[in-house]
Symmetry: D3
Subunit: 285 residues, 6 copies
Amino acid sequence: MTNLDERIERILTSYEEFGGINLTDNQHFPNRQTVVEVICDLENIIFPGFRENTSIDRESLRFVTGERLHRVALKLTGEVLKAIKYICEISQREGKGCYKYAEQIVLALIDEIPEFRRLSVTDAQAALDGDPAARSVEEVILSYPGLEALLVHRIAHFLHSKGVPIIPRMMSEYVHGKTGIDIHPGAKIGEECFIDHGTGVVIGETCVIGKHVKVYQGVTLGALSVKKAMADKKRHPTIEDNVTIYAGATILGGETVIGEGSVIGGNTWITETVSPKSRIYNCPS
Amino acid sequence: MTNLDERIERILTSYEEFGGINLTDNQHFPNRQTVVEVICDLENIIFPGFRENTSIDRESLRFVTGERLHRVALKLTGEVLKAIKYICEISQREGKGCYKYAEQIVLALIDEIPEFRRLSVTDAQAALDGDPAARSVEEVILSYPGLEALLVHRIAHFLHSKGVPIIPRMMSEYVHGKTGIDIHPGAKIGEECFIDHGTGVVIGETCVIGKHVKVYQGVTLGALSVKKAMADKKRHPTIEDNVTIYAGATILGGETVIGEGSVIGGNTWITETVSPKSRIYNCPS
Amino acid sequence: MTNLDERIERILTSYEEFGGINLTDNQHFPNRQTVVEVICDLENIIFPGFRENTSIDRESLRFVTGERLHRVALKLTGEVLKAIKYICEISQREGKGCYKYAEQIVLALIDEIPEFRRLSVTDAQAALDGDPAARSVEEVILSYPGLEALLVHRIAHFLHSKGVPIIPRMMSEYVHGKTGIDIHPGAKIGEECFIDHGTGVVIGETCVIGKHVKVYQGVTLGALSVKKAMADKKRHPTIEDNVTIYAGATILGGETVIGEGSVIGGNTWITETVSPKSRIYNCPS
Amino acid sequence: MTNLDERIERILTSYEEFGGINLTDNQHFPNRQTVVEVICDLENIIFPGFRENTSIDRESLRFVTGERLHRVALKLTGEVLKAIKYICEISQREGKGCYKYAEQIVLALIDEIPEFRRLSVTDAQAALDGDPAARSVEEVILSYPGLEALLVHRIAHFLHSKGVPIIPRMMSEYVHGKTGIDIHPGAKIGEECFIDHGTGVVIGETCVIGKHVKVYQGVTLGALSVKKAMADKKRHPTIEDNVTIYAGATILGGETVIGEGSVIGGNTWITETVSPKSRIYNCPS
Amino acid sequence: MTNLDERIERILTSYEEFGGINLTDNQHFPNRQTVVEVICDLENIIFPGFRENTSIDRESLRFVTGERLHRVALKLTGEVLKAIKYICEISQREGKGCYKYAEQIVLALIDEIPEFRRLSVTDAQAALDGDPAARSVEEVILSYPGLEALLVHRIAHFLHSKGVPIIPRMMSEYVHGKTGIDIHPGAKIGEECFIDHGTGVVIGETCVIGKHVKVYQGVTLGALSVKKAMADKKRHPTIEDNVTIYAGATILGGETVIGEGSVIGGNTWITETVSPKSRIYNCPS
Amino acid sequence: MTNLDERIERILTSYEEFGGINLTDNQHFPNRQTVVEVICDLENIIFPGFRENTSIDRESLRFVTGERLHRVALKLTGEVLKAIKYICEISQREGKGCYKYAEQIVLALIDEIPEFRRLSVTDAQAALDGDPAARSVEEVILSYPGLEALLVHRIAHFLHSKGVPIIPRMMSEYVHGKTGIDIHPGAKIGEECFIDHGTGVVIGETCVIGKHVKVYQGVTLGALSVKKAMADKKRHPTIEDNVTIYAGATILGGETVIGEGSVIGGNTWITETVSPKSRIYNCPS
C-alpha cells in the first residue's frame, strides 16, 4: 500500500483527537468471546443433554457437570477480574484481594445454578401452557428464544446485582442479538415468565415484573424521561402477577403499575397506572 | 474450586427437583448445529455459486450438487431419526422400520428441491419488483433477509407437513434469530411473497397466505385466543392473493380473512374479515 | 441414495427453468465471509483494544494497526473488484484498469478511517448522554448495538457513495442480522446519532438525518410509495438536527421533514412535514 | 473442467479393476482422527496438567478426569465396534452383542489406566536416570518422544491383546509418524524402558523385552525371515532385563535372546543368542 | 515493547544484508498448506472411504469423486501457476498462456489417477505378501507409512516429470516429515514396491527402481559424489526387479546396478554393481 | 459408564502412588501449542513471504513484521515466565522481578533475529552449493527439513544459553518430530551448516560444530558414557570447520575431535580424535 506509514499516522492521531481512550499495558476489557463461552457452558449445565452431540448417561452426568463448572469458574473469574479492575481502577486491590473478590462472586453464581434451573423450568412450563403451538417442554427448551433470553437474563441479573460492571451488559447484548429481546440486566423478573416470539421486546433497567407474566413481541417496558439525572431513580414500570401484555404495547414510566391479572392489548400506549384485572384494548381501526 | 463436590450435588438434585427430565442412554435430541449445516447445504444447492469462495463451472456443478445432496441425505436422515424416536417413543419401530421412514421423508424433501428453487425465484422477483432500492435479482438473493426467511420456511414447512417434530421449529428459530422474521413452520405461504426489512414479523402456525403478498417489518399475523384447547383449530388469519400489509400492522384471528388485493396500512389493528380490494389505514396522528 | 443421478438432473433442470442465472467460470460474487472479516478488522482498527485477547501497548499499536490496514486493503480490494466486475460487466476494464479503480476506492476508504473514528466517538458520547443506564463510554463501545450499526453504516455508506455495488448491502445486512437495525447504505446520517435498543429500526435509502438525532426501537423512516419508477427519487424523510423519535414511530415520504428540535412520540404515524420544535404524541389509549 | 464426466468414469472403473474393494453402506473403517483424539485424551488422563492451558486444582481434577473418561468411553467404543464389525464380518453379532463386546474391551482398557500410569512413571524415571541431559522427570514427560512412544504402545498393546483389529496399528503408526519410533502393537515391553532419541527404532511384533532396557536411535529388533507362513511364529528377538542396545544395532530372529545385563554396541549386527552380561562391540573403523 | 521501531528496522535491514530476497507484489510461492490439502484430496479420491467419517454408497461415490476432482483442479492449478511464474519469470506468459499450461498439467495428472490407483494397489498387495504382521490389504492402506510415501511419491514424480518446480518437492517433504521416508520426486519406482517401517529411507533423484522391490528402514540409495557439476548426471543407483534391501544398507553411485533378484543384507555398504541373484551380507559381529 | 466413580477413584489414587506429581493452583508448565506458534511466527519473521497466502509488499512488510514481533513478545514472555517459575520455584521472584527477567530474555532473543537470519541464509547457501538436486535458494528455504531444523535449533540454543528451562527442549522436540533431526539445544553449531535428508541425525548436548560442516542422514554425534555424573562434562565430540560426515556415521566422546577438512565415510564408527584433512571410510562389504 502506498503511503502506508502516513496513513497509519493519521489513524493514530485520530485516536488521541477523538475519544482519547488510553490503553495501558495492564488494562483489558472483558473478552466478549469468553463471556459467550461461559454463557454456553452455563446453559449446558442447566439443561444438560439438550445440545450435546454425544450421549450423557446418569453416571457420567456428574463428571461432565463438574468439568463444566470448573471451566466456568476459571473463565468467568478471569473476566470478572478484568471488569472490576478496569472500571474501579482500584489499584490498591490489584493483588490477591481483587482476585478473591472476583472468585467469591463466581462461586456465588455457581451456587445460584439450581435456582436458575428452577426458574427456567417454570418459564418453560409457562410457555408450554401459554402457546397452543408448543408440543412439549423439550421443544420449548430446544427452540424458544424467549426461554433463552430469560435464562441469560437471570444469569446477567445476578452478576449485575453483585455490582459486576460491563459483563452483564455483554451477556444481555449477546442474547439481544440472538433473539431480538433486549432485557436490561437490572430488570427484576419473577418466575413463570413467557415471552412469545419476542423480537423487539425491550425491558428497561428498573422494571419489576411479577410472576406468571406473558409478554408478546414488540412490547416496550420503558422510561418516560431519559434525563441522565434520572439514572438512580426507578424509571421503568412495575408489572404485577398474572399480567398479559400483547404485541406492540408500550408501557412507560417508573410510577406506572400494571395491576395484578390485567390484560394489556396490542399496540396500546400506557403511561399511567392500571388497576388490577383491567382489560385495556386499542379500538381496532 | 472449594466444595466442588457439594456444589455439583446440589445441581444434580435440581435436575430431579425442577423438571425431572430423564436422559437415558439412547435418547438424543436432534442436534441444532447439524440442522443448521443442512440448511446451509440446501441453500447452496438451491442457489449454487452465491456463497462459494471458488468458482463452479457448468460441468462440475452436477458433481458439487451430488456431493451436497449426499451430505444432506446422510445428516438430515440422522437428525430426523432422532426427532422421530425421541418424540414418538415408538420403541417397536427402533429397528430398520424407523430408519426407512426417516429416509423416505428426506428423499421426498430432496425431490422437492426444484419446487423450492421455483418458489424462491418467484420470491426474489417479487422483491426486485417491489423494492425500488433493489438493483438486481442477484443482489436480492445475496442480501435480502426476507428471501432467506421464506426459503428456510418452505423447507421447514415441508418437514412439518410430513409430521417431523422439533426439526422444523429449529429451522424456523435459526432463521428467526438471523433475520428477526418468525414464521411458524405450519404456516402456508404462496409464491411471489416479499417480506421487506422483516424485523419483528410474526406469522402464526395456521396462517394461510396467498400469492403475491407483500409484508413489511413488524407485521403480526397472530391469534386472538391462546387457549391451549385451541391448539388444533385454525387460530391465525388468511391472507388472499395480492395483498400488501404495511409495517406494524396486526391481523388476528383464525376466521379473519384479508380479501384479495387489499392494502392494510401501517400500525393498523385488524381482528375481522376485510373484503377484497379494501384500503385500511390508520388515521395519522 | 437411490436414483441420485436422476434427482440431480431434476435440480439442474430447475436452475435453467427457474431463474436461469448463468454462472460462468470467471464470475464471482463478493464473498460474504470475507466482507464480514473486513468489517471486523475495520472495527478493530477504529477502536483498538476493545475486543483483543492480548494487550496492545502504545508502541506496538502502530504495527498492529499497520498489519490490519494491509489485510483490509488486500481483502477488500479483491471483493470490490468482484463486485465491480460482476455488475458492470465492463469487460474492457478487465485488466489493470479495473483493479486500479478498486484499489483507489479502498485507499479512499482507508483515508476515511479517522473520520469514522471521529463520528463514532460522537455517537458513543451521544449514547452516554442520552441513556441513563449507560455508565461509561467504554461500556457503550463494548456493548451498544446501535453504536455498531451506525459504525458499519458509515463504512457501507462510504462504499455506496463511491458506486460499489452489493458489498455495502452485504455490510448493512450483516449488522441488520446482528442488531435488528436495518439502515440502507444510501441513508445520510449526521454525527452524534444515538439509536437505543434498536430492534426493528428501519431507515430507508434516501433518508437524510441531521446531527444529534435520537431514534428508539421499532422506528420506521420509510417510503410512502414503493413504485419501481420512484427508484431515483427521494422517497424517505428528512430528519433535522436535535430530533428525538420514540419507539415504534413511523415517518414516511420523501417530502416529509421533521423540523429541528422536534420530539416525535412513540407509535405515531407521520406522513407530512412537522415544523421545528414540534411535540407530536399519540393520545394514550 | 472439461470432460469431467468421462474422467470420473475412468476413476470409478479403476476402483473395480484395481483392488476391487467393496464399500457397502453399513461398513466403516475406524476413523483415524477419532483414534488420535482418544490417544490424546488418554495421555491427558494419565498425566493431567502437562498440556493444559488452564490450571486444574485438586478438587476439580476428579471431574475433569471423569469427563475425559466418559468421552474416551464413547469415542473408543464406537471405533472398536467398527473395527470388530469390519474385520470379523460377524453379521450375527451386529446387534447388541457386538456393542456389548466393544464396551467390555473399552472398560477393561479404562481399568488398565492406573497400570499405564505406573509403567509410564517407571519409564520416565529410567529416562531421567539414563540421560545426563535430562534435568527433571517433568521435562521427560513434557518432551521425550521415547516416553510418548512407549505410553502409546502400552495402550495399543492392550487393545491388540484383546484381539481388536486395525486400531492398535493406527495408534502405533500415529506415534511412529510423530517420533520415528515404530513399535508393533504385538511387542511385549517391560517396565523402566528408555528409548533415547528414538528415530529409526523398529521393534517387531513378537519381540519380548524385559525390565530396565535401554534402546538408542536406529536400533532394529527384527525378523530373519519374512515368509508369510511365519506369521504365527515368534519371529523377533527376546531382550532380557537390564540390557542396553546402542544406536544402529540390528538384532534379528525369533530364537535370538540377548541375555540379562548385556551391552550391545552401536551398529552391531546380531542374529544369534548372546549370553548374559555380554559386551558386544563393533570394532571401530 | 520498548524500541519496537528500532528493532524492526534492524530486522528489515537484515533482509537486505543477508539473502536479499526480493519480494514483489505479484510474486507468490506455492502455498504449503494448499499443496497438502490437494494431496489429501487425491488420497481420498484414490482410496475412497478409508478416511471418511460418513458412509459413501455406490451411487453417491461418483459425485463425491467429482466434487473432489473439481476441488483438486481448482487448487492445484492455482499452485502450479504460482510455481511456474515464480521460477520461470516468464513474464511474456503471464496472461492466459501460462494459466492454460498449468491447467493442462493438472488435467494430465487427473487422467493419471487410475494409474496411481493401479500402482498403489500393487504396492499394497506387495506389503501384504511381504509382511507376516500384515492381516489384510485394508489394514495396509489404512496404516502403512510406506504405502502412503509411495503414493505421494508417484503423484510428485508425475508433476516433476512435467517440469513443475517446487511443488513436487513440497509433496515429498510433506510425506518425508510424516513417515521419515525421503524419496526425491525425480526417482523412478516400479510397481509392487514395499517399503517396510521406512524411517530413515533415502532414495535419490536419479534412482531407477524396478518391479517388486522390497526396501527396509534406514536404507540409503544415494550418490557417491555431490559435486554441483554432477546435477545433470545419473548420480544414484539402479535397482532391478525383485531385489530385497534390508535395513540400514547403503547403496551409492549412478553406475551401481543391483542385479535382478539380489538380496542385500542389512548395514551393508555397496558402491559397485552387483550381479543378478547375488546375496550380499555383512558378517555378523 | 458403570462404576465410573470407582474407576476415577482408582486413577486418582494412581497419581499419588506412581509419580506423586503435585499440581498446585498456580503452577503451569509452558504450553507446547503456544511454543509452536511462537516458532512459526519467528520463522515467518525471519523469512517473510515464504508461507504467506497473501502478498506482502515492501511498505506493509514493516508493519506485518511489527505485529508479529509484538505477538511473539507477548506469547513467549508468558511461556518463559511459566518455565522459570516452575523450575526455579523462586517464590521470592514471583512478583515483577520474575516478569522483568522473562521480558529481558525475550527482548534479547528478538534482538538476535538479524543474526538468525544471517546464519540461516548461510545454511541455505551451503545447501544449495552442496546438493546437486537443489535448484534455488528459495526451494531450499521452502522445503529442506535440515534448514528448518537448524533455524529452530539456533533459536532454542539462544534460550538454552540464557538458562531458560524446558522451552528450548520443547522447540527441539517439535522440530525433531517434524524432521527426524534431533539436535540438543545445548549444541553449538557454526554457520554454513548443511544437514541433508536428516532423518535419524542425533547431535548431543555438548557438541561443538565449526563452520561449513555437512552432515547426512543417520549421523550420530553422541556420548561414550551416559553416566549421570557426567552431566556437567563435555560428553559429545567437536567437529572442526569444513568437515563432511556421510550417512550413518557414529562419532562418540567428549574428547573426540574431527579435524578441520576431514571427510568421514558412511556407517563409520569413530571414538577417537581424527587429524585434520583425514579421509575415514568403512571398507565396502
